[in-house]
């Protein structure tokens, strides 16, 4: 059974082809803004689903103009569905540009099949995404180091203190950090208290990759 997620703007037509075309549709979840026209579109989608006997719900995105907030909220919902064993797909055609981008980001990071619907032909077009989580581009150890840095973003770590915290040899940590730096996942910043030291920090945006 499949749960269909969708971002919704003012036009229910951007989502309806996906509702019609999803095999074994179990449920529909739509993200929309607090704009009156967006709420109206949600009502029409829910009504359409009801006529098909498919449960549907709307999630009003509290701040439809914040990319990271939007992406975190969507990802948390998507992960819940995946954890319950449902197959998930996403229609990113509707909604604000930012809401749609946030949904695409989640689809890339989580490896979720995504589609958009052409504005004029209403044809559903699958996006060329792989069904594998993007974070798999890092090794398990690299993910572990990056995850530790993200979860302890407020603390300052040097390469040595990081090695000690994670219980690995300094040389091993140096290897992981060089790889993470090459991939743009971490940054080394000068320590304001000690000019000889460099502080290791996760690069901006990595919370979304690891979180």
């Amino acid at each position: 059974m499949t749960v269909l997620f969708g971002t919704l703007g003012w036009r229910p037509q951007s989502l309806i082809p996906s509702i019609r075309g999803t095999e074994g549709l179990e449920r529909v979840v739509v993200y929309h803004s607090d704009h009156a026209k967006s709420r109206e579109a949600r009502s029409r989608v829910i009504e359409f689903c009801r006529s098909l006997g498919v449960p549907a719900s709307g999630v009003e995105v509290s701040d439809a103009f914040d990319l990271l907030h939007c992406a975190s909220q969507i990802r948390s919902d998507v992960r819940k569905e995946k954890a319950s064993g449902s197959s998930v797909r996403f229609n990113i055609a509707g909604g604000t540009r930012l809401m749609s981008s946030a949904a695409l980001l989640v689809c890339i990071l989580e490896g979720i099949p995504a589609t958009y619907v052409h504005d004029e032909t209403y044809q559903e077009i699958p996006l060329p995404l792989l069904h594998v989580a993007y974070g798999e581009g890092l090794t398990t150890k690299q993910r572990e180091v990056l995850g530790f840095l993200v979860n302890n973003r407020d603390r300052d770590f040097t390469e040595t203190s990081l090695a000690k915290s994670l219980g690995v040899h300094k040389a091993t940590m140096n290897h992981h950090l060089r790889e993470l730096e090459r991939k743009g996942a971490i940054e080394r910043l000068p320590d304001p208290d000690d000019a000889r030291q460099l502080i290791v920090k996760p690069a901006p945006g990595m919370d979304l990759l690891i979180g």
Binding site: R97, H118, L130, H131, L138, R182
Partner: protein, 209 residues
């Protein structure tokens, strides 16, 4: 001397491009936009600042053509040195296509609308890296629906054992490129709807030097 390139998507105003130009040092600016955007006042203002900027016109309502245009622009830029992207400008489709292109090409990308937000792209990790050698070999052999046995035999002629070929079919199916169905007792492998767009990422074997 390597040239740093900033590839930016743009609509009819320069509101998303200017913060990116301030944020990311560059030697060359590439603007990806609809034809009409190149007639806009916003573009003229940018051209006044950067007379040598390079234009890449796209159909901003066709996702796949936008994706291909941005990917080509990024690849070309990456040949001369490091490339970075600003993906907040232009139509929703162009902006989304640019986000996907950044992930597929492993290029640092920022969403400037107008506050800059860095996307979690792993630099240098291109989509092609997601495919093992046997997946690339097998993927290149699929042109349409084909019986699994026949595909495996064909893969053997390209140096893949039965085990490796079957494993590649399974993993390409899990990745969403292939679909397997039993038709009248025969397992048939079919390319999915996304296969044609992902096929270019299944690169050929390295050529002779």
């Amino acid at each position: 001397m390597p040239q740093r390139t900033l590839v930016a998507t743009m609509g009819t105003d320069d509101r998303q491009v200017l913060p990116a130009m301030r944020l990311m040092p560059y030697d060359r600016l590439v603007l990806v936009a609809a034809e009409e955007a190149f007639e806009s006042a916003g573009f003229r203002r940018l051209e006044a600042i950067e007379p040598l900027l390079h234009r890449v016109p796209v159909d901003p309502y066709d996702f796949l053509s936008c994706l291909e245009a941005v990917r080509l622009a990024v690849r070309e830029a990456s040949r001369d040195g490091p490339a970075r992207m600003s993906v907040g400008g232009g139509s929703k489709i162009l902006s989304s296509a640019a986000i996907l292109a950044a992930f597929q090409e492993g290029v640092e990308a920022w969403y400037c609308d107008p506050e800059p937000i860095r996307l979690p792209v792993l630099r240098g990790i291109r989509l092609v890296e997601a495919f093992a050698r046997e997946e690339q070999t097998l993927g290149r052999l699929v042109r349409g629906p084909v019986a699994l046995d026949r595909l495996v035999r064909s893969a053997a002629r390209h140096g893949l054992s039965r085990y490796l070929a079957t494993r590649a079919v399974r993993s390409l199916t899990a990745k969403g490129l292939l679909d397997m169905q039993v038709v009248e007792g025969t397992t048939v492998v079919r390319p999915t709807a996304v296969f044609p767009a992902l096929r270019p990422h299944l690169r050929g074997p390295p050529g002779k030097a």
